[in-house]
Amino acid sequence: MVKSVTTHGEAETQEGSIGSRRLADLLALLGRSPTVVAYLIIVALVLIGQALIPGFFAVSHIVTVLNLSAILGVVAAGQTVVVVSGGIDVSVGPVVSLAEVLTVSWAQGGNINGLAPVLVIAAVVGLINALGVSYLRINALVMTLGTGTAVSGFLLVITNGSAGGQPPAVLSTFMRNSWLGLPGPLWAWLGVALITVLIVHQSRFGRSLYALGTNKRAARVAGISESRVNIGVYILSSLAAAVAGITLAGFAGTGYFGIGNEYTMLSIAAVVIGGASILGGKGSYYGTIAGVIILGLISDILTVSAVAAAGRSIIEGASILLILVAYGREKALRA
């Protein structure tokens, strides 16, 4: 593409000088790497936040924002695993609610043993999802929509409509205090993030996720058992949602039936903003983390600006759309 070399030693191309060529390359690189764009958006949001609200960039505030994003970070970890493998899990919101309410009402301020049944129930929900998707061949969206609705109903039935109680004392203490400068929920997120990265990026199971998400048939031919992978995937997602709910219970201290509902849409948004393709095969938890932080920053800016619930809803939805327009697009139809 170099047409000629001037006496100054600068190469000239058909499009322009090396300067604009570099810019074009940079833009192309960004277009190919949504995760990088996501982290750039984080920087932009922090700058906007600092402009709108002095003191935004203070360490304590940033830690607060990260802390509030921790719950979504945990839920989105499970959602990442599902979406990368080509599925979707819209039952995570109800499972978060289930875990939160049950942790509070079963423990009654007592010991931590009450948590095990919660995790088991979540695992069962995940198993049901996986069986429906793999063996009954039911569309993942529909299956998880059905189980999610059923879980919400089940929660009402099993608690008889009342959500009183207290989370285990140990849990409350952990979640409501800071350890080594970081609040409890953030530690929970850190732990889950570590496990997620190990599973998704460093294990054979993780690689089979990407294989399955890219091309189901090819994956099957390559010897990957779709049903077994799905079982792992959906159980992990439900467990992540349960962990998020338990964390929330310790942090919030009271049970509330609808507490987990918003996490369904937010976890999907975080995953897609982070660069994953809703069809599967593309994406990483690093990107999802960026997506989670972006959503957390937006939510925080809205809160500090005292925007009412209506405005929050509008701005959150519009922000997700705007960010997606930047790089969430699918291929065009070609003749």
Binding site: T149, I268, S313, L324, L333, A335
Partner: protein, 332 residues
């Protein structure tokens, strides 16, 4: 294959000589018939004309929501903002238009159509996945609804409230059925199925896939506008949160009616039947004394069940040939 072999190949069924009925399309009617039969066994008044009219009247909102969702699903997309759009229309009608029914109808349809076109543009031209688009838009419409009417209130013009009484529900359904038939005869109707079944092939065949998507989303939006009017008529007021619950049942009804997720399959009349069936099932469950708490489990189970049925009947068709008489159930 020689011509002689073709002529004597008894198994070749030229389409013009055979009637092909897709099982997935008719399953809902069989199901609806059985459902009404079972309902009558439990509750003998089911078949009384006044009761039937009542059933149709309370299914009206879901009927329009299901057809709207069905239209979008025929394209191969999904609309998770159905409930939010109905909510928005309801709130607009109940607050801005309290006294003028004509303005109310016009505004409702405009709002619904606008919402639909926005979604359609984002899906067709910006090429965002419909599941995320409609999820995000649901948040936006819901927020606007909350902004327009923070707490339940407002009033609905009396004339509009009359829509659910008397013969009007049946009239409305008949008009809808006729409109859907007209739609199926339009080029747009064929394009919808083509765009849903195989967008790439449709594009190569010269079908304006993107434009079709936007128009169909817009039509679905208009139907949601009508659903919003009917919801307002039903409740008599505005509520910024109530109609959000229509999204899942709309999807369930469309699937019950035989519309497949992957697009290009199913009929919108089936969606109407699915909506009526779903309303009747809900009523039956309530009538049998199942506590309200269990509604969630029932709704979830119903959705999964309907998809299961849909899968069992998919890709199978009844082929009837007249001369010589032969009826077969085959994989289409």
């Amino acid at each position: 294959m020689t011509e002689a072999a073709n002529a004597t190949n008894e198994r070749a069924l030229p389409a013009s000589r055979a009637l092909i009925i897709e099982l997935g399309d008719v399953a809902i009617y069989v199901g609806l018939f059985l459902l009404i039969a079972a309902s009558t066994a439990f509750e003998p008044t089911t078949l009384q004309p006044s009761r039937l009219l009542y059933t149709v009247a309370i299914s009206l909102v879901l009927i329009f929501a299901a057809v709207a969702e069905g239209l979008v699903m025929l394209l191969g997309s999904i609309d998770l903002a159905v409930g939010a759009v109905i909510t928005l229309v309801n709130v607009v009608v109940a607050s801005i238009v309290s006294t003028n029914p004509a303005l109310g109808i016009a505004l409702a349809i405009a709002v619904g159509c606008g919402a639909g076109v926005v979604a359609g543009l984002l899906v067709a031209y910006v090429r965002l996945p419909s599941i995320v688009v409609t999820l995000a838009l649901a948040s936006v419409w819901g927020g606007i609804a909350l902004y327009v009417m923070p707490t339940p209130g407002g009033s609905v013009p009396a004339l509009l409230q009359q829509l659910i009484y008397g013969p009007w529900p049946i009239v409305i359904v008949i008009v809808l059925v006729a409109a859907l038939y007209w739609f199926s005869r339009l080029r747009l109707g064929r394009f919808t199925y083509a765009a849903g079944a195989d967008p790439a092939a449709a594009f190569r065949a010269g079908i304006p896939v993107e434009r079709t998507r936007v128009v169909v989303f817009g039509i679905a939006g208009m139907l949601l506008g009508i659903a919003g009017i009917l919801f307002s008529a039903l409740t008599g007021g505005g509520d910024p949160l109530a109609a959000n619950a229509y999204t899942l049942p709309a999807i369930t009804a469309a699937v019950l009616g035989g519309i497949a997720f992957r697009g290009g399959k199913g009929t919108l009349w089936g969606a109407i039947a699915g909506a009526v069936a779903l309303t009747q099932i809900t009523h039956l469950v309530f009538f049998m004394g199942v506590p309200a708490f269990y509604q969630g489990i029932v709704n979830g189970a119903l959705l999964v069940l309907s998809v299961g049925i849909s899968r069992a009947t998919s890709d199978r068709a009844i082929v009837i040939r007249v001369r010589p008489m032969r009826i077969a159930i085959t994989r289409a």
